[in-house]
Structure formats: C-alpha cells, structure tokens
C-alpha cells in the first residue's frame, strides 16, 4: 500500500498519469463526437444528393404514363436516368405512388409491386420535406438488399408530368457513414495524439527540473526546521540550566537565609513572622519556578527517559482524579529532537484533556519502529465538534500542528461531542 502510494505522490508520475488519463478521455470523446458529427454530415450529404437526384435528374426525365406502369415509359425512363441515378454511394432507387405501388426502381422486379407506405413516407408525400432513416431490411420491399451493415434511406417528393405526387427514395450504404466518421476522426485523433505527445515531451523534462528544485528546497527547509527545533531545544535547555544554576540557587539560598534569620533569638514576633512569611513565599515561587523549568525542558529528556518524562507529565492528571496509563515501546535510539516532539505533543494534548475534557481516563501510548515513532493520546472526556473553530483549546491544537509540521511529522485530532478526543502523531525517524 505504502509502496504504491509513494510513486503516486511524485508530481512527475502524477503528471504522466493525468496526461495518460486525459489522453484516453480525449481519445474516447473524440470518437463519440466525431462519429456524431460524421453521421450528421453523412446524413446531410445523403439528403442533398437525394434532392439533387430527384429534382435534377429523375423529375425532368420522367415520361408521361410512367405512373400508370406503362412498360415503354419505364424502358425510356430507365435508359435515360439509370446510370445517372446509380452514382457514388447510391445503392437503390425507388419511386412510389401514394398507394404504395413502385412505379420505378433500378431493381426492375420491384416495378408494379405494391407495399404499404409507412407514416413517415406518407408524411413526406404530404409535406414535401426530405426525411431520412435507417432501412428495415426485414420489410418485403427490401428483399433484394444484401448489405450486411444496413442501408440509410432518404425520401423526398417529386411530381410526375401528369401532376401526381410521387415519393422518390434513395438508399445509401451505411458504410458511407463509417467512412465519413473515419475521415473526420483520423486526422483529429492524429492531431490530439501528437499534441499530447508534444505536451508530454516538453512537460516531463520541465516538470522533472521543477520537481527536483522543489525537492531540494523542501529538503533544505526540512533541515532548517530541524535545526530550528534543535536550536529551540538547545535554547530551552540553556535557559533551564541558567535558571537552575543561577536564579533558583540564589532563591533557594535566600529562602534558607531568611528561615535561619527568623530563628535568631531577640527578634520581635512581628518581624519573625514577616521573615518566615517571606521565606514561605520564596519557597512557593521556587516550586513554581522548578515546575516551569520542567515544562521548558524536563531533565533527562531523551529516548531512555521518555517513559519517565511522560509519567511525570501525567502525574497532575492522576492528582486531579483522572486515571492514567502510559506506555512507551520501540523508541530506543530515537534522536532527541524526535523525543522532544513526542513529549511536546503529549504535553499539549494532556494539558487540553485536563483543562477542557472532564475526562475520567487518559492514555498515552508511544510506539516506535526503525522508520517512525507514533504517539496516541486518548481521553474519554466530553469531546468537541471538529468543525467549531472557537472550541476550547483550538489555538493550542493549531500550535501543536504547526509544531509537529515544523518537526517533520503529521498530527491528526479526532473528536466528537460526548465521544472523547484522540490525538495521533507520526514523526519519521531520520
């Protein structure tokens, strides 16, 4: 799964896959549209041809008495127009009387036979329009047709010399439509294929260079981020050490001195009480300062001390009546900045649980392997609506996200009202 996902995150692979998909889509769409266009064009051609044959060749050459089925008139008409009518894609010609009698056809066996005209044919006879449809080769009138792919029939109205309305019908091979489709499709597809190929040939190297630059920039940024995190940790460590070695020692000494002075004989009760009060205030400040020092940088924060640090972190929760469980496995040898990130995220998540969740149980689980370290902090508190930007602790979570991303990891928070909150973080081990 991961193996499959990794190449797909490469912009170059994405571009090639998207291009191929686009190519396939275009190939398919051009087929559909060109077929429609070609069919429409072939139909239009067939109509124009039919009207031309009907009004320019058949109608002017029609002798009197052809409509009456006169054999001599049929001969004369046939000799005059047959070769001119059966041209190009025309496969069959029929001229009908309105009662369904074929008065002329290039297939002379049909002449004089009578078949029922359908509604469309009768409509053309009445309106004089030109219509087309696919032939139904099962009809008796089409018994001589042998085209496997079917025929396209086009009708129009003509008049005999006696003034009788006749239906002129020309049949065209459906192959014509296919040929026209191929004529339209082939060059279009060639252009499409060449364009996409050119796009790929130009785009892939360009995108490759851009991807390389982006990858380098991204790695540089990662290194900077890591350095920033490491610097931040170092700075925290230095501040914690300076405070511990300086201010804390001095405050402790002053508190000790005040307590000793307060026990000197000869002091008034009021002064003694003031000195003891000042000493207690200094000790309180000292405790708060030591807690702050632990938060800034807990002593012994490395892979081997992570479990103990997390136990310390959740100790206030236990004091507040929340049952806690801490589990750490597989983090041996993890770099300090990864350990620090795990601890920071656990700290923020635990703080949120204590402040907002009203939880009764809290678990902190850290699992690691040779590639990454995963942290899960889960509580059974009141939860919150993910979509609510003003929910309690949202600023802390946003800061958490930024912290994790800066450290090269990913964090996800899942919560719903009444269903507790789970914070998951994954960070890669370098």
């Amino acid at each position: 799964m991961t193996g499959l996902r990794r190449p797909l995150t490469n912009p170059l692979v994405q571009f090639v896959v998207a291009s191929l998909f686009l190519f396939g889509l275009t190939w398919w769409a051009t087929g559909i549209f060109s077929q429609r266009a070609a069919r429409a064009e072939a139909l239009a051609d067939a109509r124009v041809t039919t009207e031309l044959l009907a009004h320019s060749i058949a109608e002017p050459a029609m002798p009197r008495r052809l409509v009456a089925g006169d054999p001599g008139a049929i001969d004369r008409f046939d000799r005059a127009v047959h070769d001119r009518l059966m041209t190009g894609d025309v496969r069959r010609i029929k001229i009908w009387r309105d009662d369904g009698t074929v008065v002329y056809s290039d297939e002379t066996e049909l002449i004089g036979k009578r078949f029922a005209l359908d509604a469309e044919q009768l409509s053309v006879l009445r309106s004089g329009a030109t219509e087309s449809s696919l032939s139904d080769l099962r009809r008796r009138e089409n018994e001589f047709e042998t085209e496997d792919d079917g025929l396209l029939e086009v009708y129009t109205k003509i008049e005999s010399p006696e003034g009788q309305s006749l239906l002129f019908e020309a049949y065209f091979s459906v192959d014509t439509v296919k040929q026209r489709s191929a004529e339209v499709l082939t060059p279009f597809r060639r252009i499409t294929a060449l364009s996409l190929l050119a796009l790929l040939l130009v785009g892939v190297p360009l995108l490759g260079v851009l991807t390389l630059r982006l990858t380098r920039a991204s790695r540089a940024r990662e290194r900077l981020m890591q350095r920033a995190v490491q610097s931040s940790e170092a700075e925290r460590r230095r501040i914690a050490r300076d405070l511990h070695d300086g201010v804390v020692q001095e405050l402790a000494g002053t508190a000790f001195a005040l307590s000793g002075t307060a026990r000197e004989p000869g002091l008034s009760d009021g002064l003694r009480e003031e000195l003891l009060g000042s000493s207690r205030a200094l000790r309180r400040s000292l405790r708060q300062l030591r807690s702050l020092l632990v938060e800034i940088h807990p002593p012994g924060l490395d892979a081997s001390g992570l479990g103990a640090a997390l136990e310390d972190l959740t100790a206030p929760a236990a004091a507040a009546g929340v049952t806690t469980a801490v589990s750490v496995t597989g983090v041996e040898g993890a770099p300090d900045h990864v350990v620090a990130l795990v601890w920071r995220v656990a700290q923020e998540a635990t703080r949120n649980t204590l402040r907002h969740a009203h939880a009764s149980h809290l678990t902190v689980d850290v699992r690691g392997d040779e590639r990454q370290v995963r942290l899960t902090v889960q509580d059974d508190g009141i939860g919150f609506d993910d979509a609510d930007p003003a929910r309690p602790g949202s600023y802390g979570l946003r800061g958490l996200q930024s912290l994790v991303e800066d450290g090269g990891g990913r964090v996800r928070v899942d919560s719903a009202p009444g269903r507790g909150t789970t914070v998951r973080m994954v960070v890669e081990r370098p």
């Binding site: 008495r65 054999p71 001599g72 049929i74 001969d75 046939d78 290039d106 002379t108 066996e109 004089g112």
Partner: protein, 130 residues
Amino acid sequence: MIARTVLAVTAVTALTLPGGLVAPAYASHGGANDVRAGGTCSGSAHWKLKAKPDDGRIEVEGEIDSNVAGQRWRWTFKHDGSVSARGSKRTAGRSGSFSVERRMANLSGPDHFVFRATHGKQTCRGTISF
C-alpha cells in the same frame, strides 16, 4: 438480378403483311440465355430479333437485311404493347442492313417485344418473348 432465367422458351414470330398474310418465321435459343427469332418481310428483306439478359435488364436487338444499301427505314420497339423506342436508320454495307439495340426493363412475368420496321410499302414485324 443480373442473369434472369428465361421464362419463355419459345419465341413466336410472325410476318404480318398489309393484307393480313402471314409468312413463316423461326425461333431458337442462341447462347445460354439468348432468345432469337427471324423471318422474311413483306418484300425481299429479312429481319432478325435477339433478346438476352444484360445486368438486370434485357438487351433487345433488331436487324433488317434488305440487300440494298442507302434505304431509310423507320423502326419501332414495343414492350408489352407499349412503344419503348422508335427511330429511323439507313441500311449500309454490301448486305444493305442495319441493326438497332435497346436495353429494356426486365419486368416481372414474361416480357413481350415487337420490332417493326417499314420502308415504303415494305414492312417487317417480329415478336419475341423473354
């Protein structure tokens, strides 16, 4: 249908003279599907008539031999009693003959053709069924 079965295997020919006299004529099968007929006219001329299938049509050919070159004959083809073609033509060559041929529609059922040619008082008339 290009090659049509010859429906009428007999060709009946007759020479009709203006006075209603009938001269003897012959009828025969030429090629595989050809039908031929011939006879004498009211004068010294002879006529021949031939019908054969031709690409879904019937090709009918009429010929007159008068032994005199330069005569102008008027001729008519009738198809099932209706005039299909007419014209005039001059005899030529040592045999003093001319011939005309026309493609006729191959209608359903037997097709009857009449070839009639006249020159002055001389009349030739032949019929053939296909």
